[in-house]
């Protein structure tokens, strides 16, 4: 269970990215965080595992306040949170297997890392996950030889190698084509559900968010302006989050959202709208 209370973040540049964010995730659910560019979505996620140091407020994961931990304790806490990135952030020159096993670094000592000798159960888990994300047989391929979609699959598998209690996902599909985007979203959501792992997922694509998330949080200028079920995203709410625009084609149409029904929105559209708003 994750409880974020009164989280503020002010960057050294003076930019106030978060202005008192509070939210609780107490169910194994996929929580989509939407909002215009610069709303603070990435900052929020990165404050949870402290890739960014919050200015004030608390982030409590299963009773432990992450913001109060020492470096060493933070490392232990980070093992319990898997992160998936927009730019995949794989170690390009290492193989897929080595990238997957890097998800276990928090659990193995330096000597094992040095010799690249991981415990047998980790290796088995890696093979299983490779199969699960549809990359069977890719273990010896170097990451820089993969396509974007394949890389993100590796990114997902690496995060799950940690057997995390929480998934932090920052725009996993923003660099992918619409079809691959849906496949990647489906893999993330299915794996999160199978394992009962809650996921915080930043996403620009409102339609994707509606079709895959259990809950949507709208962020604007570092504040939560919406928190509810995906079908609560009507034109009024979208205007509140993103600003004035014709939302009639995007606003929630209930549960019956079908796959081929309409062309998915391009990310570029969203960003230019946000810039105006």
């Amino acid at each position: 269970m994750l409880t974020i209370t009164d989280l503020f973040k002010r960057y050294p540049t003076g930019q106030r990215a978060l202005n008192g964010v509070s939210l609780t995730v107490d169910l194994p659910q996929v929580v989509a965080i939407i909002g215009p560019s610069g709303a603070g979505k990435s900052t929020l996620l990165r404050c949870v595992n402290r890739l960014v140091e919050p200015t004030s407020g608390s982030v409590v994961l299963d009773g432990i306040d992450i913001t109060k931990l020492s470096r060493r304790e933070l490392r232990r806490a980070r093992r319990r949170m898997g992160m998936i990135f927009q730019e995949y952030n794989l170690v390009e020159r290492l193989t897929v297997m080595e990238n997957l096993l890097s998800g276990r670094l928090g659990y193995v000592g330096f000597w094992r890392t040095y010799r690249r000798r991981y415990p047998p159960e980790d290796i088995r888990m890696a093979y299983e996950l490779l199969d699960r994300v549809g990359l069977t047989g890719y273990e010896d391929t170097r990451a820089d030889a993969l396509s974007g979609g394949e890389r993100q699959r590796v990114g997902i598998a690496r995060a799950l190698m940690q057997q995390p209690e929480l998934l932090l996902v920052d725009e996993p599909t923003a660099s992918l084509d619409p079809k691959t985007s849906r496949q990647i979203m489906r893999i993330i959501v299915e794996l999160a559900q199978e394992r009962g792992t809650p996921a915080l997922l930043n996403i620009h694509d409102v339609v994707l968010a509606q079709s895959f998330a259990d809950r949507v949080i709208g962020l604007r200028a570092g504040k939560v302006v919406f928190d509810g079920a995906p079908n609560g995203l009507d034109e009024k709410v979208l205007t509140e989050i993103y600003g004035e625009e014709d939302w009639s084609t995007t606003a929630a149409r209930g549960e019956d959202e079908d796959e081929g029904g309409k062309p998915p929105r391009r990310r570029g559209d969203m960003e230019s709208e946000a810039a105006v708003g």
């Binding site: 890739l51 093992r79 990135f85 952030n89 670094l105 330096f110 040095y114 690496r158």
Partner: protein, 270 residues
């Protein structure tokens, strides 16, 4: 829109540099020419010697020929020693430059002090010529190849350390964050996140430096630090030009060979 308005908005003239920029450029050229002329004046070069320079050079070449092929027996051992000095020196550099590079890179150093220490070592190493390092180590270890090896090492640390540190600073930040986010320790981040990204650069600069070091170690003998330089120096002093000829030819062969190896190896990595 009138024709004039149209012409003003969509002119036919476009220049890459403004007149001002062009002026500045010519000012630089003039400055460079001035500095060159000034240096020549200051050096008080005895121009008279230039008059028969080509005659002297031709004379030298004639005296080198025919090369004293029998002398090659005495050249071979020092030549091999030269290669060993370069190779061992580069190998030591490889080991020592590594931690110093991590200290000297902004993103992997511990704090400002360690960064300063790292940078200081690099600058010191680079600001002293290999031959001068040779003099220093001959004073410490006495004449011989050991001094030569350390001279090569001392000079190469700065070269390799600087290039590796620059590579480390250009490492992909996102990858590092991803590894940190798994709960990896600092050492693990270096080993799994940073090292694979800079490894090709490390191999590339090592082999490149080895190639440079072969050339540098040929003159180390001039100050007694071992290698072929020792006999080259004595042959020159004895005006034994036919010996000098054979030494220069053999150095040339080795340098071409090392350059070839270096280029071939560097092409295969990355």
């Amino acid at each position: 829109m009138t024709v004039e308005e149209h012409a003003r908005r969509y002119p036919e003239v476009w220049r890459r540099f403004s007149p001002r920029q062009t002026l500045v450029r010519y000012a630089w050229y003039a400055g460079i020419v001035f500095v060159a002329l000034w240096s020549v004046r200051q050096l008080e070069i005895p121009w008279l010697y230039f008059l028969d320079a080509h005659v002297q050079a031709a004379d030298l070449l004639v005296r080198m020929f025919p090369p004293d092929w029998a002398f090659i027996e005495q050249v071979l051992d020092p030549l091999i020693e030269t290669i060993h000095i370069a190779t061992l020196g580069t190998a030591f550099t490889f080991i020592i430059a590594f931690p110093i590079a991590f200290l000297s890179a902004r993103n992997t150093t511990y704090n400002d002090l360690t960064w300063l220490i790292g940078r200081f070592i690099l600058v010191t190493s680079r600001s002293v010529n290999t031959v001068v390092w040779g003099l220093v180590f001959v004073a410490i270890f006495g004449p011989g190849p050991v001094a030569g090896i350390w001279a090569i090492t001392a000079r190469s640390i700065g070269f390799m350390g600087k290039l590796i540190a620059e590579a480390i600073e250009e490492v992909d930040e996102g990858t590092i964050e991803a590894i940190e986010a798994t709960g990896a320790s600092r050492l693990q981040v270096l080993w799994i996140g940073v090292l694979p990204q800079v490894l090709p650069i490390i191999w590339g600069t090592s082999i490149y430096r080895w190639d440079i070091n072969i050339r540098e170690s040929t003159v180390l003998g001039f100050v007694g630090a071992g290698g072929i330089g020792i006999i080259l120096y004595s042959s020159i002093n004895l005006f034994a030009w036919s010996e000098v000829g054979i030494i220069i030819i053999s150095i040339f062969v080795v340098v071409v060979f090392s350059e070839f190896v270096s280029a071939a190896v560097r092409q295969r990595i990355t």
